[in-house]
Amino acid sequence: MDSREFWLADAPVDLAPLRRRVQHDRAGAFASFEGWVRDHNDGRPVLGLRYESYVALAEAEGAKVVAEARERFDLCAALCVHRIGDLAIGDMAVWVGVTAAHRGAAFDACRYIIDEIKDRVPIWKHERYADGDAGWLHPESPRGGDA
């Protein structure tokens, strides 16, 4: 089992071992977030997508985000994994799991991690549209493309 707190996965992710890794007897709250591939973006029907990454830098920056969350909030554990490669509608693109004694810290840290990952970690989405078009998403402003 991976001992890192952030990593990129090039194949579907089994959630059961991730849940086990964040379990703690002093944890009363488990907040998790998953990003799923939607069938639309900005009103355009989407057929599927591909994520590319600058792996070394992404894994370093993602680990930094999780470490920041652990410093800012009183947590038991926090993990995040992001898919790269080809994904279909409904596939899980990212998973964030946070445990804490109390739910406020768990929710806030979970939100912090996904916001910062989307903002800072070098991963790019390439979407294929139903109309035959395709392209890379390079959002104009950070967090403009809320998903």
Binding site: G35, Y54, I117, K118, D119, W136, H138
Partner: protein, 80 residues
């Protein structure tokens, strides 16, 4: 003249037609290097919308260019 290794991702890679290349340059800093390569490959994205990394760590555009380093131009990210 110094040689650097340059990495391209996402739309920059599509525009460059390659994921990486070795480039020989007189550029003194990273900003000038991007200007050169933007002209060469016709990149649409202005430097203001990119970040830059050297040897796997985020860097500043005004940092001096070091021969033999690996430089990555980071277009706006869209993970999550």
């Amino acid at each position: 003249m110094s040689d650097v290794r340059v990495l391209y991702f996402a739309s920059l890679r599509d525009a460059a037609g390659q994921g990486e290349e070795t480039w020989t340059t007189n550029a003194a800093d990273l900003r000038t290097l991007y200007a050169e390569l933007r002209a060469r490959h016709g990149f649409v994205l202005p430097v203001e919308r990119l970040r830059v990394a050297v040897d796997g760590t985020f860097a500043r555009w005004d940092d001096a260019l070091q021969a033999g380093s690996e430089i990555a131009f980071i277009p706006p990210v869209s993970g999550g």
